[in-house]
């Protein structure tokens, strides 16, 4: 791969974050040794790294379970959310019938519904998928509705004077207009869906990283908990980056959004 200046520059941008991360890990390692903290209370990064290596197989097995729940839940959520958002924009009746309920549903903490779902649908993958859908549905619907609504009346009129049908206007004007908002929703939902999977597993399951952490916690295997958390967070970050990559590719023709951020320290 040819490293163009911009690629180098982008990698360069990551250096401060890496330095801070490494510094924190070193500080952690030193503090644990200097203050002689027991490993079951707070294991040093080196022990956590060892734990990841030692129980790599079992960690990956549970990661596989959590990832499949996450992906299935996420995809179902995207389909439902986009469908409903389209309905809300298409018809006032659909909006009036569903929008208040969707917003009201967000005031119920998902964590309180999870035990009910376990009672109703059991401890297999279905309950996790439902938790993920409930968790990630909202940000996608809101962003897609907002995106579809961002279309100007003048644009719609222009399409009509070119003889466009309502369906063509939706397909060729509203959907492309909503794409940036759609990806904004997906980015939030991608992180939420991993959290949703863990919450679902917490309340009843026999596999998955959430279940693994719960069991390890019961046995005071602190290093294992940290190992699982490290893997979980890596999975979430990779998922997020995948969405960012899809976003960059899908929006490659869109005008570049100038990043104008006010920085008082760099005046």
């Amino acid at each position: 791969m040819i490293m163009t200046p911009s690629v180098w520059f982008r990698l360069f941008e990551w250096i401060p974050a890496v330095i801070v991360m490494v510094a924190l890990l070193i500080l952690w390692e030193l503090l644990v040794h200097v203050m002689d903290i027991q490993s079951w209370l707070l294991p040093p990064p080196s022990v956590i790294a060892m734990e990841i290596c030692n129980s790599f197989d079992i960690l990956m097995k549970h990661t596989g379970v959590t990832v499949s729940e996450t992906v299935i839940g996420f995809l179902i959520s995207v389909l439902c959310a986009v469908g409903l958002a389209s309905g809300i924009v298409w018809s006032r009746t659909v909006e009036r019938a569903t929008y208040p309920i969707i917003i009201a549903s967000q005031t119920i903490p998902i964590i309180t519904i999870a035990p009910l779902l376990i009672i109703w649908v059991g401890t297999d993958i279905h309950s996790k998928v439902i938790v993920i859908v409930l968790f990630t549905f909202f940000p996608i619907v809101i962003n897609v509705v907002q995106g579809l609504r961002s279309v100007e009346q003048e644009m719609v009129d222009m399409f009509r004077t070119l003889g466009a049908s309502p369906f063509q206007i939706f397909l060729k004007l509203m959907i492309p207009s909503a794409l940036p908002g759609f990806f904004a929703g997906l980015k939030v939902a991608s992180v939420f869906s991993v959290v949703g999977a863990v919450i679902g597993e917490w309340f009843g399951s026999s596999a998955g990283l959430g279940w693994f952490i719960k069991i390890a916690g019961g046995q005071f295997q602190t290093a294992r908990i940290f190992a699982a958390i490290a893997v979980l967070s890596t999975v979430a970050i990779l998922f997020f980056l995948l969405i960012v990559f899809l976003e960059k590719w899908s929006l490659r023709k869109y005008p570049p959004t100038a990043e104008r951020v006010i920085r008082l320290g760099e005046s």
């Binding site: 222009m158 009509r160 004077t161 070119l162 003889g163 466009a164 492309p176 929006l251 023709k253 005008p255």
Partner: protein, 274 residues
């Protein structure tokens, strides 16, 4: 439009009454309300094949609304509009070319993809519509930027793309709403000259809405003067200049100046009445 000048006087004479059965576009006694507020009242215009009409008037006199009504975007309260035999609003939608004030280019489409939008919506094959785009792009001076994105173009170029998109479906009627309004004086003059060339050989009926009296006289065969509250027509001024092919050098011609001062006087009078 430098349309064969001999035709113009006779056509203008017959259309001064606003009733011409041979007209391509016939607007008869059109009224339009917005939220119970009358915007247009009893507006009648007829435009023949190959004829270029300019509408001038103060801002807020309903010029743009009139184009929206003619194109079929808005439903008039009263009156009838017939365009090339099409009477209902739904029939007219999509059969009249309309260039709005803003270019309204889709930011995610290249110049070529923007230009062919009208053909695409009619179900033309991409290959065929690209061919049509390419043919006209040269004449429109945008052949070199067909692969560019709209945000890479200047305002004048964007407006050319928007006009190409409007005329590609080859509708017999073309409506232009202040197409050069947002441009600087130099681009404006260039585009006016260019528009005259582009439309020179066409048989389209054109209505141009503008607040620039000079632009109206330079481009049009007939200038319709509107007044506000509610918008109505106060006068129709035929533009008969000796040598239309050199029209752009005529800004100091006595006849040109006479027309200009007459129209400005009409606009001034209604300003003082308000």
């Amino acid at each position: 439009m430098k349309v064969g000048s001999s035709k113009i006087p006779s056509k203008t004479a017959s259309t001064e009454s606003g009733l011409n059965s041979g007209a391509l576009l016939q607007v008869s006694e059109v009224g339009f309300d917005y939220a119970n507020l009358p915007i247009l009242d009893n507006v009648s215009i007829s435009v023949g094949r190959g004829e270029f009409i300019a509408i001038v008037g103060p801002s807020g006199c309903g010029k743009s609304t009139l184009l929206n009504v003619i194109s079929g975007v808005l439903q008039p309260r009263s009156g009838t509009i017939t365009s090339d035999g099409l009477v209902t609003r739904i029939e007219r939608l999509g059969s009249i070319s309309y260039l709005q004030q803003r270019d309204l280019l889709l930011p995610w489409r290249t110049v070529a993809e923007n230009s062919r939008l009208g053909l695409e919506l009619r179900g033309h094959k991409t290959l065929n519509s690209n061919k049509s785009v390419l043919e006209l792009a040269k004449q429109f001076g945008i052949a070199d930027v067909l692969g560019h994105m709209p945000w890479q173009l200047s305002g004048g170029m964007r407006q050319r793309v928007a006009l190409l998109r409007a005329v590609l479906p080859e509708n017999p009627v073309l409506l232009l709403d202040e197409p050069f309004g947002a441009l600087d004086a130099i681009s404006r003059r260039q585009l006016q000259r260019w528009l005259v060339e582009v439309l020179d050989t066409s048989e389209k009926a054109v209505i141009l809405v503008t607040h620039d009296v000079e632009e109206a006289i330079l481009l049009a065969d007939r200038v319709v003067v509107m007044a506000s509250n509610p918008g109505h027509i106060i006068s129709e001024v035929p533009v008969v200049l000796d040598d239309r092919s050199y029209k752009f050098d005529l800004v100091t011609d006595p006849e040109f100046l006479r027309l200009k001062s007459a129209i400005i006087k009409m606009l001034d009078t209604q300003e003082s009445v308000r």
